[in-house]
Amino acid sequence: MHPAFSVIFLTTLIGAGQGLFLALYTGQVYAFFHLLSAQADRGFYAGGSLIALSLLVGGLIASFFHLGHPERAWRSAAKWRTSWLSREVIVLPAFMGMVLLYGAAHWLDWNPPLLTIGTLTLNATMVFGVLGTVLCFILFICTAMIYACLKFLREWHSPLTVANYLLLGCASGFTLATAYSAYTAPDLMGFYGKWAIIITLLAMASRIASLLRNSKLKPKSTLQTAIGVRHNKIVQIAQGFMGGSFNTREFFHGKGVALLRSVKWIFLLMVFVLPLLLLAGGLSTSAAVLLSTAFLVQYAGLLFERWFFFAQANHPQNLYYQAIA
């Protein structure tokens, strides 16, 4: 497939935004159960929610560049019964609204206790957070299923695609939360940093598992099934036109095997190895610069990862477009 930068930025930006929201809320849940000192500073959650929201808005803006008719984008909420893309279109604004509500409730201190069980007090922001978390997970599933549901794009048609989107988004979000807390709430830096390392390791395992799976895939469609002729040697002589067409532009990345392979190593290094080293270094020295570098490197690496994700998918329609003459 031809990787579109609009979709690369959409999926990586909202992934980081979702992960950051989950990180913020995880901290609050730990504080709720008295496992972590509660954040008295209302600006911490509000500021974090604002960053998460800006990432989500950035992703949404990027997505419009993918559309030929962005002014009709509202129509895409229509077919949520069958289309994962439609579901994503509904869940993304709902999640953004909930992040806004969550951040605003913290900032305005609109946090009335709703329920008290023993020493645990359930506040309004806790409820907003639960709703936000549910929407966040649904959004991860919707985004990933857009790709995973296409059964003949076999590189994508796997539960590992959903695991990767979830874990890679969370990894970048928790790394961002670590860098954010290093500047605003240094007490929480260790908590977020450890989670960032754990999730990055999990994401690495899942991404490597999908790389191994994809390297062993054998194509189900062949030129024989594509044109229905049983012969071992079939060569395309002409594809019906001399110049390019949508079919040759949209479904081929047009880069060499060597470039594809080097992008794979670049993203493995930038998404997993370097951020893990930077996180470990930043946590041991409490250097905020190292932690913010960890996020920037990981996010840049995710752009490579997403590019590779699209480029690696081999569409069966390419069988019909092998030769120009």
């Binding site: 129509r75 994962w84 893309l85 030129l223 044109i227 002729v229 012969h231 110049g243």
Partner: protein, 243 residues
């Protein structure tokens, strides 16, 4: 249930591209707007087409065979491009099974083209909507046309009648009979999309002759054949008879 479809006879197709040009001519002049081209006379021409004719070479020299392969939307009975459309612009008509795109609803997200394993959809780069074969839906029901012309433009244009059009759900139709009797098949059956369009394979006409059949034991020609001419030195009839 009606399922209109094309049946393309690869045994007859000569790869003349008449279906391609007549398709473009009819559909670019239609009420849905033109099918845009870029640099049509330039070095790198490109444009929107509903139908393409490709060519394949089967086997290695000298045992090769050329196959011309017209390719358009197959109007699948289980179209993977329809459920993925977020706006409902891509839909399959209940009444005749044609898969269509509503150009007024399409947002050109290209997701349907990703979901089609055949690459049957092409985006119009200027109108910014996804386009594909409509089976000439604006023609086949047109009461102003004589009944014989209520067929897709490609079918009418084909000089060798390699393209048949009809209802594949009606067992008595020309297309159903052609599929049944001439080994009609579907493309990429492994994805269970159940394409309505079928292709008829290349068919060889061969007679089997055994060596002993080459000369007949009771060949009457042997008895009635002309006798060999006698040589010049042989005695003539005058020499051996006394009249």
């Amino acid at each position: 249930m009606t399922q209109l479809a094309l049946v393309i006879d690869l045994n007859v197709c000569v790869g003349c591209h008449a279906c391609v040009t007549s398709c473009k001519e009819w559909n670019t002049s239609g009420p849905a707007g033109s099918m845009s081209d870029d640099r049509p006379y330039g070095a790198d021409p490109t444009g929107t087409f509903f139908n393409r004719v490709q060519t394949y070479e089967i086997g290695s020299f000298p045992n090769t065979e050329t196959l011309h392969f017209p390719k358009s939307c197959l109007h699948c009975e289980d179209p993977p491009c329809v459920p993925v459309c977020p706006t409902g612009a891509s839909y399959k008509r209940k009444e005749d099974g044609i898969v269509l795109v509503d150009y007024d609803k399409c947002i050109a997200c290209k997701y349907c083209s990703w979901a089609c394993p055949y690459g049957a959809r092409e985006i119009d780069e200027h109108q910014k909507v996804m386009k594909k074969c409509t089976l000439c839906v604006d023609r086949i029901y047109d009461q102003n046309l004589p009944e014989a012309e209520r067929k897709p433009a490609c079918v009418l244009a084909c000089p060798t009648s390699a393209r048949l059009f009809g209802d594949v759900h009606d067992p008595e139709s020309v297309v159903s009979a052609a599929i049944r009797e001439n080994g009609g098949y579907q493309l990429m059956p492994e994805w269970a999309t159940r394409p309505a369009n079928h292709y008829l394979p290349r068919r060889k006409t061969r007679i089997r002759i055994h060596a002993d059949e080459l000369s007949r034991a009771d060949n009457p020609l042997k008895k009635e054949r002309q006798l060999p001419q006698p040589g010049k030195s042989e005695p003539s009839l005058d020499d051996v008879t006394s009249w």
